[in-house]
Amino acid sequence: MKKTLLAGLGLVLGLTSFAAAETVTIYSGRGETLIAPLIKQFEAETGVTAEVRYGGTSELATLLLEEGAKSPADVFWAQDAGALGALSSAFADLPAEVNETVLDAFRNDANKWVATSGRTRVLVYSTERVKDDDLPKNIADLTNEKYKGRVAWAPTNGGFQAFVTAFRLTKGDETVKAWLKAMIANEAKVYRNNGTQIDAIANGEVDFGLINNYYLGRYTARDAEFPVGQTTFAAGDIGNLVLVAGAGIVEASDNKENARKFIDFLLSPAAQQFITLQGYEYPVRTGIIPHATLEPLEAVNEISPKVDTNTLGDLEATLNLLREVGLL
């Protein structure tokens, strides 16, 4: 019994695919549901077979760090700038021309990675329980008595942490600490991620949530009556921060040519159009038809705070701060 099992194991082992010549190995922190059609299109266009490992951005980032120089990955496609920043040392330098194809606001000056889409931090709220003039003007308002116990946030979430980093870099650690403490004192409720905050608002547990812009569309597309709305803060408020998802070529890759092909494909008009329409995100280049339900990028750029996306990888101090106030 054991012998046959071992023999079977050997057989399975022998069958594991060894990389054929024209392949590219992608670690994708972006979900398969959205990405799979794009991958197919890439394969059809280039003739390169894409082998994709889907997973959470942070798990894959940790995996890449553990694999180090022996990583089989060629490309890492991440959901947030925090992960991209943490992996800077594991990325190969991108030729400057790659970042030149994307809009100024999204460029990575160090050429370690390139943004593949933009998204914004927004405020979601209950359309049943919140009147228009009750909407906060800026994130500082959320610490008012009026919002006590009514606001959701997700301290373990990458998007939220990037927001805290930007907040720190523009206003200083002390201001952020004071805000976090005031929010805790105001009984802000901790949720796991973006989607659960939307659920909580619909369920009547809270009235407001701090999330990324592209989640609500998935709910309202299926249920026009869904009782959650989305809005921005006053112009320039840190709550309107613009964030990116992006990709880089893994330093350990022995197939950087195909990795580059994949990155170029992600920046192509067709792929950018797809990400915009299917993912409710902002394209990183010009000439893309905007999503009908999204605030135009020009308007977003006008109201978003001026924060260099390159600096959002500086997570350590942010995590220390979140720990200090007891959120992590």
Binding site: L5, V12, G31, P72, T156, N203, R218, R222
Partner: protein, 534 residues
Amino acid sequence: MTVLATFTRAGRTPSPPLLLVVPALVVGIGTLLPVFYLLMRALDADASQLGEIVFRQRNLFLLLNTLKLVAVVLTLGTLFALPAAWLVTRTDIRFKGLLSFLMALPLAVPGYVMAYALLGLSGYYGFARQWAGISLPPLHGLWGAGLALSLYTFPYLFLNLRAAFLGMDPALEESAQSLGKSRLVIFRHIVLPQLWPAMVASWLIVGLYVIGDFGAIALMRYEVFSYAIFTQYSGAFDRTYAAWLSLMLLALTVVALSAQRAVTRNRRFARTGTGSARITRPIGLGRWHLAAWAFFALVVLCSLGLPLMVLGHWMRLGVPEAEWAHLGRTALGTFLTAGPAAVLTMVLAVPVVVLTLRHPGPFASLIERLAFVGYATPALAFALAMVFFALRNAPFLYQSYALLMFAYVMSFVALAFGPIRLALLQIGTRQEEAARALGVSPTTAFMRVVLPRLRRPMVAGSLLVFIMVVKELPITYLLAPMGYSTLAMNVFSRTNEGMMGDAAPFALSIILFSSLFVGLILKYEGSAARAAGK
């Protein structure tokens, strides 16, 4: 003299045969790898950071929350499992097979699906609001998390308790009855002590599971120790302090193991009388039938009804494009890893348990403890350890089925110990000794006399491993071969992005798929029992 020597030494030869030692060594080394890895990572730590991240008050608070959660889950789980196991083994309630099936099945429900189901009870799309127009207070925190976890872990307790009831010799109870003792007294003084080892062993397994769970508790917004570990790996991309926290968890595991040993020491459960055990006469429930059925209805409604309703609701929200081909491929792929992993686990678990019972000593107990430590190691850390060692020592194995299988087996082998251990305790050594006295070698005696009677617990144990592998996420995410995905991965990635409609068919497949196995096994068990004349 020789006969006497054979008798006293039967099954207790001083040096265990290689057939037991080799598998035990494999288990020992396989489960020691993650410990080595964590210790090595922990050495990179910086003393000042250590104070800020590891040794701080909040971690103590989180640890306390974890212990509270374990207490709630074990209490609720036992309240579901113990009456259910008693009813299906000792009373004249009808449809025992069907009831056992329904009590075992919730194990197949992924934790976060159970949490969504409970949350869905009260929410915007919740049944209370949609059907009755009332809004229930949301189930959150300790009780929400405790209920969610107990609703899909109690089947583990149930299966073990049921096996314990079935294997019990009724003679003792009958003697007590003939002495005029009441049923309650008999239960407390005769039945409960005999159930004790099965109960404590299952508590240990479920407790360790609860300590490591993150999916359900995060949705229930209850902060426990696994939060701290998750935050280190996922928020900070840190492996050093996460290793410290994981080691703290392992220390807790060792304490729990010692506690388990202390409370189950020096008990014997095998029959000592002559002749063979008879089947117990079923207790007539009489007017209590109604209450028994109400109990089952409630448990089934909560543990299976709610998740199925929530999945049905997600389906109604719209399954956008039928992904049947993908679903089929994924189901097949899941089966092809979970099946062999379950069988391999058994192949290793039986020798280890035999070793611990027949050749007790430091070696045996070390291996057994290591297996539990492997089971309690946070899955992400376990997977990273495999990545580390595979890339350094056997890169050709990296992200292969073989390594994935090895990781599953090492991480779940302890799950299979309970049923096998209980069965071996109940079988005792007498018949084996008789065989030895007739001049058969110890190995042959075991193979011919004991192994056939282990079939049932082996099948039950592999089922548990099978279901756990089907639901497993972190190890699969990191170690699966390229392009391979399981049903659970598909459910998780879709729910995580708020695409519930897309997730539902995959989640339903997990439950359906596992139900087929649970059903098959109980059917097999039934026919085996009949064949054995029971």
